[in-house]
Symmetry: C2
Subunit: 280 residues, 2 copies
């Protein structure tokens, strides 16, 4: 088998269990506006936070194959649960297929930004219980700097609250999640779930001016830019690229929610059937 | 007459023609969460952009008196049109009344942030036609550094588009407003209308990663903090302060729009009658 190398005019592919990864796509659009993008939300099987590690690996490999088939030149795993469980698996799978496509998750870029930005050496993490339980952020922080302390707070239900648009009514709960971060006097807080940037203003008011909120998206955008540049895969065109959206579940729901998450109308959303999704 | 000095436990007052100034209040809540706030939206007389300079001075003095009556220890003019037209007038009025209360507008703090942050010496301004016509930003930029070039773009109708929530449909128009800024290769863009921060994500995608969007709010928050500290008027309490909202027009409309602008429910909004507003 000859290694397969992608071309600069192929799209960057981004996937998540739902619409949350659109906050990552937003940052990519800011940094790399001339690229084409293909976004897939695996809405038929969300939330990923409730899935086993093996399920997440199977889903991720299946989606990776689908996106490569659609011509992806780089894969962004814009989901914390899938990044924690399946990043190595996807990379091994691509290597076995001899496909020279980089895979970028959300955990390492966000961790590096937070660690690099911290003066106190104390950083905080807000994430789903599954992401915290995976230990992926704790490992990433240790790998970046073993002298940095990580204060992790599991926020059960917060992603659903944000998706339902009821975060205003749940301020007490959000404040409760932030209390351990304030007590630990962290100076960086990683938003370890792609839904959380939507309530960044509320979180900033709770944690105060001296604390930097670190979203995955900005770090991912830097990593994607470096990865494409290293392989000479940056799209050389000067006008803006095109965006395509796919989901495995309800198309209209995805359109409505997605417009709010991306702050931009999505246009047409294509429904795709993934083999395992049908039986999941 | 003995000079009247306010006390630390009195509220900070913020006023605007409508809900736009709530984006400034948000930044104050981030920086100074233990203060009490009183916000007034002069919604019966908006938009201020269509008013004469004399009207804006009359309205501003009247509102200043009302807010002092309500116990304000500092006044924030969270409106670009009123800041441009009436800041000096309000200060002279307070001095004549021998009231030792600082007045902080939005133009100088935002200009200083943009000038200080610019490496290229080229900064951009998006604002209402009235604000641009006042020349206030051009004067503030010259005062800060006469070697800095200012590229000003009047954006007729943009505040209304944002208030109506239809900015998604008007992307072409927004892109057109940004075209001169891109051509001038500015590295800072002042959002010279308090409505514009609501479409910051869209603007950031259009101007790109290398351009910093400067909102009035962050600069105002710094100025307020310094002013209160200088007069030893920072509220010494440790728990969060309280917020009160008043408007001169429709209370329910203000509540609905305001919740979106502040990303927080406003709670009760009081209707107030200002003498001149009744006949305006």
């Amino acid at each position: 088998m000859v290694p397969v190398s992608p071309l600069p005019q192929q799209p960057v592919a981004v996937f998540d269990s739902g619409v949350g990864g659109l906050t990552v796509l937003h940052e990519l659009l800011v940094s790399l506006p001339t690229e084409d993008y293909l976004y897939l939300g695996d809405t038929a099987r969300l939330p990923y936070g409730d899935r086993t590690q093996q399920e997440l690996r199977d889903f991720s490999v299946e989606i990776a194959d689908h996106l490569l088939e659609a011509g992806a030149k780089l894969l962004v795993v814009a989901c914390n649960s899938a990044s924690a469980a399946a990043l190595d698996t996807i990379e091994a799978h691509l290597e076995a297929r001899r496909v020279q496509v980089d895979v970028i998750g959300v955990i390492s870029p966000a961790t590096q930004l937070a660690v690099a930005g911290s003066r106190s050496g104390r950083i905080g993490l807000l994430a789903t219980p599954a992401t915290i339980a995976s230990g992926a952020y704790a490992r990433a922080v240790r790998a970046a700097d073993r002298h940095v302390q990580l204060e992790s707070v599991a926020c059960p239900g917060l992603a659903s609250i944000i998706e339902a648009g009821s975060s205003f009514d749940e301020r007490g709960r959000v404040r409760g999640y932030c209390a351990p971060l304030r007590a630990a006097q962290v100076d960086q807080v990683i938003l370890g779930c792609t839904h959380y940037p939507l309530i960044a203003p509320m979180l900033q008011r709770i944690v105060g001016r001296g604390v930097t909120l670190v979203t995955s998206g900005a770090g991912v955008a830097r990593s994607v830019e470096r990865a494409l540049a290293a392989r000479e895969l940056l799209n050389p065109r000067s006008q803006e690229g095109e965006y395509r959206f796919q989901c495995t579940g309800d198309v209209e729901l995805f359109q409505a929610l997605g417009t709010r998450f991306l702050q931009m109308p999505l246009g047409e959303v294509a429904h795709v059937e993934l083999a395992a999704a049908v039986t999941a």
